[in-house]
Structure formats: structure tokens, C-alpha cells
């Protein structure tokens, strides 16, 4: 699928304030359509906040934000979202299909009658994420990796142009983590959609991503991993000496909180 020429995300001199604190100042960057971008940075730097801003859940204190060419608003079916925290505790007896189905029409009023097209669409998306075999199982019977696949399906089922994933790898072990990363990469390339993935550890992703957006100390830096995750670049960002050691294609940050 050809990527459009318009940037997927565009920020101009954006500042984010939360609880009276200035979290980000003067952010200006553009993300092209179809790019796979990892968002990194220490806690409190504004990673989740940035995603929420793109979703229209929070407003920027200053500056202009454009998502897919328009001002951010909630209910944008063009954006798929996988939040960090889920309150599924009492609802995880729902079937996998039902949870994925929310992404399609959970926001529509009424009871929702049985619809053959809807079921076909569900099957297709479940197949895409390799979750068809357990689509009728209850959510609480599934492993962490399987759950993330389903939540990914939920985010994708509305055919979004932009996918926002807030720490999807946080609670997964290495095997499941790699499974999810492979899946996300495949989806990004085959559908040609823009993917923003918030994470703490870039190394599992480093071979797959196009760019890194690093947020720290009220500042941001966007570029390829080998440009941004360097001792110079990060020291400038953090405002204090940071050393980056690279070994076997991986990069390790020393001297700063990641």
C-alpha cells in the first residue's frame, strides 16, 4: 500500500503541562506515514502523555498538533490504541472475539444484532494476528502474548492509519515479546500504517524500527537509532553526561534513567 505524502503526525512548538509541571517544551517534529517509531525515555518524560494527546484525550498547553492532517479528537476511528493499563479484571470472562469486537462497534449505541459481515471481519482480523484458533476462548484463559495479540486485533479492526501502542511489551517474557514485535512489524509493513510504540527497552526492536523518538528532561530528539542513541545526542538531551555502549547491534544507556 503506498504511503501518503502527508505526515501521519505533526507537532509544532508543542508544550505539555501536567499538574503544573512542564513535561515537554517546544516539541517540533514530523512522522511520515508508514514509519515504525519507538518512543523511549524515562518515567514521567511524557511518553504516555504524548499518545494521549494524539488521541484527543489531553490537550497541549501550547503549539499545534496534527494527527493524520487533522486536529486530535476522540472517537477517531483512524487511530488504533492499545492502552497501558486495562481494567479487564471482572470482564475477562468475555470471549476473545467479543473483546476484539469492541474495537469495531463497541462505541455504537444499541444492542448490536448478529451480523454475518461482522463475524467475517472478526475472523479475518483474528487470522491476521494468528489468533483464530483461540478466538472463542475466554480472555482469562490466555497467555500474556495471546492477549496482546487480541488487543492488537482490537486496535486494528477499524482499519486505522495510525497505531499507538503504550508499553505493550511491559509484562511479557522474552519469547512472547519477540512474538508481538514480529507481529507488529509485519502489520506495519503489510498494511503500510504508522506505528508508534512506547517502550523502555529499545533493543528487542532496534532491528525493526525506522526511527526513535527520545523524550527526556523536557526535550525530545527524533532520528534513526544510530543517530539518537549515542553518547553525544543523549547527553545533550539529558543535560548531563550519558554514555551509550553499543555491542552486537544493541545499544545500552549508562548514567541515565531509561
Amino acid at each position: 500500500m503506498p504511503a501518503s505524502l502527508e505526515p501521519a503526525v505533526s507537532l509544532v512548538q508543542v508544550s505539555i503541562r501536567l499538574g503544573g509541571m512542564l513535561i515537554q517544551n517546544g516539541m517540533t517534529f514530523q512522522l511520515a506515514a508508514g514509519e515504525f517509531v519507538a518512543i523511549l525515555g524515562p518515567n514521567g518524560a511524557g511518553k504516555s502523555t504524548l499518545l494521549k494527546m494524539l488521541l484527543g484525550l489531553l490537550r497541549a498547553s501550547e503549539g499545534e498538533v496534527l494527527v493524520l492532517g487533522k486536529v486530535p479528537r476522540t472517537g477517531n476511528q483512524q487511530i488504533g490504541y492499545l492502552p497501558q493499563f486495562l481494567n479487564l479484571d471482572s470482564m475477562n470472562t468475555l470471549r476473545a472475539r467479543d473483546i476484539v469486537g469492541f474495537g469495531l462497534d463497541g462505541h455504537r449505541w444499541g444492542l448490536g444484532l448478529f451480523n454475518r459481515d461482522r463475524e467475517k471481519k472478526l475472523d479475518r482480523i483474528l487470522d491476521e494476528v494468528d489468533a483464530l484458533e483461540f478466538s472463542r476462548a475466554a480472555f482469562d484463559e490466555l497467555s500474556g502474548g495471546e492477549r496482546q495479540r487480541l488487543l492488537l486485533a482490537q486496535a486494528l479492526i477499524s482499519d486505522p492509519q495510525l497505531l499507538l501502542l503504550d508499553e505493550p511489551l511491559a509484562s511479557l517474557d522474552i519469547a512472547h515479546s519477540q512474538e508481538v514485535i514480529a507481529l507488529v512489524t509485519r502489520i506495519c509493513r503489510s498494511r503500510g500504517i504508522t506505528v508508534l510504540l512506547v517502550t523502555h527497552d529499545v533493543n528487542p526492536l532496534i532491528a525493526h524500527i525506522d526511527k526513535v523518538l527520545y523524550l527526556a528532561n523536557g526535550r525530545s530528539a527524533l532520528g534513526r537509532p544510530e543517530e539518537v542513541i549515542t553518547s553525544d545526542a543523549l547527553s545533550r538531551l539529558y543535560g548531563s553526561p550519558v554514555e551509550v555502549v553499543s555491542s552486537q547491534g544493541r545499544r545500552f544507556v549508562i548514567g541515565a534513567e531509561v
Binding site: 488521541l55 484527543g56 484525550l57 476522540t74 472517537g75 477517531n76 476511528q77 487511530i79 490504541y81 492499545l82 492502552p83 493499563f85 486495562l86 481494567n87 479487564l88 479484571d89 471482572s90 470482564m91 470472562t93 468475555l94 470471549r95 467479543d98 473483546i99 469492541f102 474495537g103 462497534d105 463497541g106 462505541h107 455504537r108 449505541w109 444499541g110 444492542l111 448490536g112 475466554a138 482490537q154 486496535a155
Partner: protein, 272 residues
């Protein structure tokens, strides 16, 4: 047959009609209460309703009117307080006792207080008037319609509020609407079981059904069935024994079914 003869009485028909419609609402609302972890509302709202009903009696107005007013008001206040209700156990207990005290204050200022107190606390469905039956049926229908309309977004926001919010679901508004619908259902249920035992009709069937089924439609279906069985059996038994209140039977049946269901659940888990 004795039963057919009983059923020919108007008071019994009225009671059954009202109670059966309430049982459906209670099952549906109860499902969401359990899913949202808000079963404490099943204790707090009825007691607040008691204070409202008592106040209405004092003012010479229909108690049902007082029930509706107070519970809906309380629902709106709870919605405004939002998520900031920590230590809710203690807070709910205080609200309950305060409302009970207030209600009793109103009733003692009214001359026939003992009987009125008893009837509101423990229910008087057998004495329901045709007018009240009409109000109950209309309110139940309205409530069910509203739930039908908000069903999907409510389910979505219960399961995953952040995702729902990002998809444009008005999560906070829905929460408020749901609480108001709960208040209406509670007010209706108080007529069947009295304010002290609303929990058994509101939460009991849904909690029991949840141990058997997983999908919302199935759980709600079973909850409706259970609720209907409880109220119908309760009313018939109360009519036959003539002195024991309906609420006692509903409470007992509800409890027994719940315990059985949980035991079965444990048994199933053990067998695996």
C-alpha cells in the same frame, strides 16, 4: 386447584406483574454492578431510598416518589464524586447508617411509624395498588429500553475504559446514566423486597449466573430466569403462609442458589 384459585385474586396478579418486571431490570443492572465492582451500591442506594420513602410518608406524599427522588439524587451525587471514592467500605457503611437514621427520624415524627417502617424495610409487594403496578411496569420498560440503547458502549467502557474513551465513548456520562438507572431499579426493587434486602434480588441472580456462564447475554439470561423464580416463588409462598414476608423467601432462595453455584464452581475447578 389451590394454586389456580390463588391466582384469581387481583392482589396476587398485581404483585406478580410488578415483581416480574422488576426482576428483569434487577438482573440486567445487577450484571453490570458486579462487572463494575459496584455492588456496594446495592446496599447504599436502598438505604438512601428508605430515607426518601420515610420523608415522603412524613410529607404525606407517595413513598415511591420519595424513593425515586432520593435514590436518583444520590446517584447523581455519587457520579459527581467520580473515582475519588477510596475506602469505600467505610464510607458506604456510614452512608447506610446515616440514611437509616434519617429515615427513622422522619418516620418517628409520623404517627403510624412502626408499621410503615416495617413495610418499607421489608417490602409490601402483596399490598401494591394497581396504580403503583402501572408505574412499576412503565418504569421497568423505560429502564430496559435505556439499557438496551447504552448496552454496547457500557459493556465496552466497563471492560476497557481507556480504549473506549479513545474511541469516542462518553465514559463518564455513561457511568452517570448507569447509576441513575441503578437508582430507578433499586427504587422499584424496594417495593418487592423492602430496602434491607434489595441486594438479594439486585446482585444475587447476576452473581450466581456469573459462576455458570461467561458471555454477557447468557449471564443476563440466566440472571433473569433466577430472579423470576425467586420473586414468583416468594410471592406464592408468602400468599400461602400469609404472614411470612416475600423478601424472606427471595433472600433465602437467592442465598441458597448462590452457595450452590459457588460450590459447583469450586468442584469444577477441583476436578480439573
Amino acid at each position: 386447584m389451590g394454586l389456580l384459585h390463588l391466582l384469581s385474586y387481583a392482589f396476587l396478579q398485581n404483585a406478580l406483574a410488578a415483581a416480574c418486571s422488576v426482576a428483569v431490570c434487577a438482573a440486567v443492572i445487577g450484571y453490570f454492578l458486579v462487572a463494575r465492582g459496584m455492588t456496594f451500591a446495592g446496599h447504599a442506594l436502598p438505604n438512601i431510598g428508605f430515607a426518601g420513602a420515610a420523608g415522603a410518608v412524613l410529607l404525606g406524599v407517595s413513598p415511591v416518589f420519595g424513593l425515586f427522588c432520593f435514590t436518583i439524587l444520590a446517584a447523581l451525587v455519587f457520579s459527581l464524586l467520580g473515582e475519588q471514592v477510596r475506602e469505600k467500605d467505610l464510607g458506604i457503611g456510614v452512608v447506610m447508617t446515616f440514611s437509616l437514621g434519617l429515615g427513622l427520624l422522619f418516620l418517628t415524627l409520623y404517627s403510624g411509624y412502626a408499621e410503615r417502617t416495617y413495610s418499607i424495610l421489608f417490602g409490601t409487594i402483596l399490598g401494591i395498588s394497581p396504580a403503583e403496578v402501572r408505574v412499576t411496569l412503565a418504569s421497568s420498560l423505560l429502564t430496559l429500553l435505556c439499557i438496551g440503547v447504552v448496552f454496547r458502549p457500557l459493556l465496552f467502557s466497563t471492560a476497557s475504559s481507556e480504549s473506549a474513551l479513545s474511541k469516542g465513548v462518553p465514559v463518564r456520562l455513561l457511568a452517570a446514566v448507569f447509576l441513575v438507572l441503578t437508582a430507578v431499579t433499586v427504587s422499584l426493587a424496594v417495593q418487592v423486597t423492602g430496602s434491607l434486602l434489595v441486594f438479594t434480588l439486585l446482585v444475587g441472580p447476576a452473581a450466581t449466573a456469573r459462576t455458570v456462564f461467561r458471555r454477557p447475554v447468557a449471564v443476563i439470561g440466566l440472571a433473569v430466569l433466577l430472579g423470576e423464580v425467586y420473586v414468583i416463588a416468594g410471592i406464592l409462598l408468602a400468599a400461602v403462609t400469609r404472614t411470612l414476608p416475600v423478601s424472606f423467601f427471595v433472600a433465602t432462595l437467592s442465598f441458597i442458589a448462590f452457595v450452590l453455584a459457588r460450590l459447583l464452581q469450586k468442584g469444577r475447578a477441583w476436578a480439573r
